[in-house]
Symmetry: C2
Subunit: 233 residues, 2 copies
């Protein structure tokens, strides 16, 4: 992680920070000073691993620009994507040591060059302990991530690979902003928590159905509407 | 669900209630009155379904005696146990409508005859919105359940069936309080989210290894120590 920028923050910076935090209006002057005094900005190069389990409990991250991915890792190095965080979204698990009842480890990496506000764990915890607004907001954040993980559980347990693959391709399409997806089968397999062979087989099946066209390192979405129907099965 | 008991509560009842809620000492007199005025006791027969998704958002449950099971249900009726709640434990998801960011449905059933305190959703929400102590406690509850679900995700994704089956048998042993487990293969399969045939095959394998002895509707644990080693693989 890069060093704190040497330049002092201006009021405009704090105004930006306060806009990300919906509870700002309900804080006392002292609580605002605590957060303002602690918050720093960071720039992360694409590929940087931000938080590896509990070893690195930096603080709450607020994404200013770029993209983060949260995933879990098996002992053998298999990865499962839990969720992604985009502009203006807040990462709670980079401050998970704040929550003593969280007993799992999530890894967070920058999928793009990413610029963040970081509110160090200790400052956030201090404000959360006295402010019902902050504690309730933190609750909301956790509920949102919990829901995303439960969606994943549902996908894994109850949905077949074709449904999950179709949903994944549509998600990538909206992230990448077009029908030409730069994606290897290996990468898709890691995202879905399945084997590369399974993904390749299913993609070929999708190609024969006219849903996608495959070429080296790239997948072109041919029929988004039918893909959507499959994703909703 | 049974009707509210007609008898008025005494101070001793409220003392018991306050003992279940670690934030009681940090509440204002008004907040305590809100909770005391709203709390009711319920008795549930074994097998009663307490909360089916969002249709039935009764309130926070505190288990006085008995046992609850929280599970998710696929469209085809497949069940996966998420966690169980025992005496003195608190069920947050029976009040999940309080948390607008929870977008999944959990079913809760009484696995034993169960006696509960119920704090209706609206009263709890009102107190939580103004009390940082209650909001932070709710956070803790959610973090605990989140951790249990993440443990399950880990089991499903990364552990093989034998490891999960061994862990499940040991858990049942501590719940049932002995080596003789009354359990059908069908029931185990539902708990593990796998097929009955897979469970039967693995149990037979465990039997040949001297870990268990099988008979109709019953599994006897023969070698708990080796079972534990397998569960920890």
């Amino acid at each position: 992680m890069e060093k704190k920028s040497g330049t002092a923050f201006k009021e405009a910076d704090y105004l930006e920070l306060s806009n990300y935090l919906p509870f700002w209006g309900q804080l006392t002057a002292g609580e605002r000073e605590t957060l303002k005094g602690a918050a720093v900005r960071r720039t992360l190069k694409r590929g940087t691993v931000l938080h590896y389990g509990k070893e690195d409990c930096v603080g709450l991250f607020i994404v200013r620009s770029g993209q983060l991915r949260a995933f879990i890792l098996s002992e053998e190095g298999r990865e499962i994507t839990l969720y992604r965080l985009f502009e203006q979204e807040i990462c709670l698990f980079s401050a998970s040591c704040m929550l003593p009842d969280i007993h799992f480890e999530i890894t967070i990496e920058a999928e793009q060059d990413t610029n963040l506000w970081v509110i160090p764990t200790e400052a956030y915890r201090r404000v959360m302990e006295e402010s019902a607004a902050v504690a309730n907001y933190t609750n909301q954040l956790m509920a949102t991530r919990f829901s995303e993980v439960m969606w994943l559980v549902d996908q894994i347990l109850f949905k077949s690979v074709d449904t999950r693959l179709a949903a994944f391709l549509l998600e990538e399409r909206s992230i990448q902003g077009g029908d030409e997806l730069v994606l290897t089968h290996e990468k898709i397999a890691r995202h879905l928590g399945t084997a590369r062979e399974v993904v390749s087989r299913m993609l070929k099946y999708f190609q024969t159905e006219g849903l996608v066209v495959l070429s080296r390192g790239e997948i072109r979405i041919q029929d988004a509407e039918h893909l959507r129907k499959r994703a909703e099965q």
